[in-house]
Structure formats: C-alpha cells, structure tokens
C-alpha cells in the first residue's frame, strides 16, 4: 500500500521535472536581441530598453507558461482545500491531543 504511493510520488515528481526541463517553455533571451536593442537606443522613445517578448513565438510561449502555471496553482489550491478540511476535522476530534507529535507532516 505504502509503496504504491511512494512510486506514484516518484513517477509524478521525476516525470514532471523532466517534462519541464526538456521543453523550453519560456523563451531564452537570444543574443541576437542585442542588435535590436541598438536600434531602439537611438532616441526614439522615452524607454530605451524595451523589455518583454520580442516576437510572436515568445509571446505564445509566455501565454503557455502562464496557462500551465495557473493550472498547477489551481490544482494545488484544490488539494490544499481538501487538506485543510482534513486537518480541521482532525482538530475537531482532538486528534492532535492524543497522538504523538510530529505525525502531521
């Protein structure tokens, strides 16, 4: 029983880590942008170094990244709410008073 969850945890963690390291979701800042910056540097606007995505690909990458991030946050919040329900129930039945400490990790 215990080992099933251990495996599940391992697979989830390792799988997800590889998934996100392998894929470049956010655009790297290409050195080629330097040239563009020099163009902007000629006094055209008040901001001489324009931050942010430079092309459509980077813009989409940012949107994909944000979409994924909020999805993970939403799932985590859902799980945390479940967890809160559980610990509140444990508190109400005075679980913490009788059990040994350090159980709840």
């Amino acid at each position: 029983m215990k080992s099933i969850f251990l495996y599940l945890k391992l697979i989830l963690s390792i799988g997800l880590i590889f998934f996100f390291f392998g894929q470049n979701f956010l655009p790297g800042q290409p050195v080629a942008q330097l040239g563009q910056h020099q163009l902007v540097k000629e006094k055209s606007s008040n901001e001489s170094v324009k931050p942010g995505p430079v092309n459509l690909k980077e813009k989409t990458a940012i949107l994909v990244f944000l979409g994924w991030m909020w999805l993970v946050i939403a799932i985590l919040i859902y799980l945390l709410i479940q967890k809160i329900r559980e610990v509140d129930r444990l508190y109400e039945i005075k679980y913490y008073d009788v059990s040994s400490h350090g159980q709840e990790k």
């Binding site: 800042q29 001489s48 931050p51 991030m69 945390l80 610990v87 508190y91 400490h101």
Partner: protein, 354 residues
C-alpha cells in the same frame, strides 16, 4: 523503512518535533477579521522573493557610474530571462510595499498595538521605513534619467530641515551633488546595510509576535467569551499557503505582462526630463510638498512641510502610547484618523498622477 529511520535520525539530532509541537499549541483565533492576519506573511513571501531575485541581479549588476546602466541593459537584453528576473524584483518590491501599508493600516484600525504590543507596532513602523529606504535606494541603481532626477529631488528634501538638513543631504549623496559616489553609496545601503538592519528588526518583530500571540480585535475581546481558534500548524499555515500561491501567480503574471522598462541613461549635466515622479508610494508626499507655498510668514514652505511630515511620522511611531483609551472616544478619533489618512493619501496620489 529507510525513509522512516532517516526521519528519526534527523529528529534525534535536530529535535524539530519540539518546534512542531510548539506551533501546534500556538492557537490562531478565528473571527471576522482573521483575514488581516494573512497580510504579515504576504510581506514575508515577497521579502523572500526580493532576496532571491536580488542575489540573482547581483550576479550581473555593476554599481559604478560607467557600468551601472550598461550592466542593467546587459541583464535585460543578453542574460537569459534577465528581463523577467528584473521585472520580478520590481513587482515584488511594489507588492511588498503595498502589503506593508495594508498591514500597518489594518492593524491601526483594528488597534492591534494595544498593550502589551506597543513595541511590536514600533518595530513595525521601523520596518516600514526600512522598506521605503529599500525602494528609494533601489530606484537609483539602474542609473537612468528618471531615477537620477528622482534621487536628486529625494535627497534634496532633507536639506530644508533646519540646522542639520544640509549635512543629511551631503551624507546621503556622498558629496554636494548626486554623482557616481551616490550610486555606490546607495548600492551599499541597498545590498548590505539595509538588509542586515531589516533582518535584525524583523527578528525582533517576529519574536514579539510569538511572545504575545495574535491580537484579537477590541469588539471580539469585549464579548468575554472564548473565541473559536485553530492551531497555527498545520491548519493556519495551510490556509496561508493558499494565499501565497495566489500571490506568487499574480506576481509572475504581472511581471510578464507589465515588464519593467529602462529609460535613457542618466546624464549628470542634462536638464531634468519631463514627468519626473517618484515611485507610487512616495506620490502623496511628493504632492504634499508641491502644494506648500514658497514662504509662510517668512519661513520657507519646504521647511514647514518637512517639519509637519516629521511630526506626523513621530505621532505614527508613538501611536500606541497616544491611544491610551482604545475603547473610548479618543480611540475612535484615532481610528478615524487612519481612515482620513487613507483618503488623503489616495486623493493626493491621484492628484499628482492626473
């Protein structure tokens, strides 16, 4: 089996079970205003993000007259995700200061500074000024037109204080004018002196909060019945972590959609650019100073303004000692003063923008 025994191995050496035990016994009262307890830890989250992104920016930033602007440009154009990290540092600072204001004002209105928590309030006010000092010194570091002009104005203001004013300005600037020396000075303050001071005062502040527990609003206290509560660990922490996740997501979203830009490089000889304005958290002060006439009864208006601000700061700092009768009429007046201050700050800020 090995996992369990490793946990036990650590436990015998560290004894962290005691801390968990202590935190489980620490009760957080539940009432209508429990929500305001979350603002403190929100500040801490942003502080942690500031420290991390600050260390990262330090890898590439060069605090000298010749290199400062160039190195920030390099961070934003060459370094991978450099603009994201700088933008995070900016937005995290903004949100941190916003939460410091919300935290202090909510505690002012809830009167959480009632005995025995006077020193908690005072250390909190010191933390507010340290945070503002972080904002002020950090603003200069990119060394662009606007940051130079804002720093000139900002460091000139203390010079109107009678007797010591000139001396304070020179101390801040490292000379008679804002120069490369000012930049180096502000850098030292921003990355060394202020962080160390902040951690010391913050440690004191958190210790006091641990010692006295969470303050309960007057109205709840008066009802003389035991309030429902839950343990700090894990019930309250879990609730807080939901809030932290939302804050983290919002911070990243803001940083990516509204990235922080960089203006023209600062030129010590150039005239001030149009639209010099401090960061939003100084706007109400900026507007207040603007409104004062040049002279009042022969005294320079600036001097009167700065003295008034200093008196206000003093009153703010000693608020717990002034509010001797929180439940009575005087207490009500002080609560309304908080509301009046909020209205004043918002109106003044909007006025200076529009």
């Amino acid at each position: 089996m090995p996992k369990q025994s490793f946990r036990e191995w650590l436990e015998t050496r560290l004894g962290w079970g005691q801390i968990v035990n202590f935190l489980q016994k620490k009760e957080v009262p539940r009432h209508k205003h429990t929500l305001w307890y979350y603002t403190g830890s929100a500040i801490l989250i942003f502080l942690v993000i500031q420290i991390i992104t600050g260390f990262m920016l330090l890898l590439y930033y060069k605090p000298t007259l010749e290199k400062a602007y160039q190195s920030v440009t390099q961070i934003m154009t060459e370094v991978s995700y450099g603009w994201v990290i700088r933008s995070l540092h900016h937005w995290s600072a903004t949100l941190m200061i916003a939460f410091v204001f919300i935290h202090l004002l909510s505690l002012w209105i809830l009167k959480a500074y009632r005995p025995p928590r006077e020193l908690t309030w005072m250390s909190g006010v010191i933390l507010l000024f340290l945070t503002l000092a972080f904002g002020f010194t950090g603003y200069l570091l990119p060394w662009d037109e606007l940051s130079l002009a804002a720093t000139k104005v900002g460091t000139e203001i203390p010079s109107t204080i009678p007797l010591i004013g000139r001396w304070v300005t020179q101390l801040l600037r490292g000379g008679a004018d804002v120069t490369g020396d000012t930049l180096t000075r502000f850098f030292g303050l921003h990355v060394s002196i202020l962080p160390l001071s902040l951690i010391l005062v913050l440690g004191f502040h958190l210790y006091l909060i641990q010692k006295h527990g969470m303050s309960v609003p007057l109205r709840e206290e008066k009802q003389n019945r035991p309030l429902p509560s839950y343990p700090f660990w894990p019930n309250f922490i879990l609730r807080e972590s939901v809030f932290w996740l939302i804050l983290l997501g919002s911070l990243i979203t803001l940083s990516l959609f509204l990235p922080r830009g960089l203006g023209q490089p600062a030129d010590l000889m150039a005239p001030a650019p149009v639209g010099v304005r401090p960061e939003w958290y100084f706007l109400f002060l900026f507007q207040t100073l603007k409104l004062f006439p040049a002279t009042i009864l022969g005294i320079p208006g600036d001097t009167i303004a700065i003295l008034l601000v200093m008196v206000a700061v003093g009153l703010f700092f000693f608020l717990p000692l002034l509010d001797t009768d929180p439940a009575g009429r005087k207490g009500k007046v002080i609560t309304w003063a908080a509301v009046a201050f909020i209205v004043y700050a918002v109106v003044m800020s909007l006025w200076s923008v529009l």
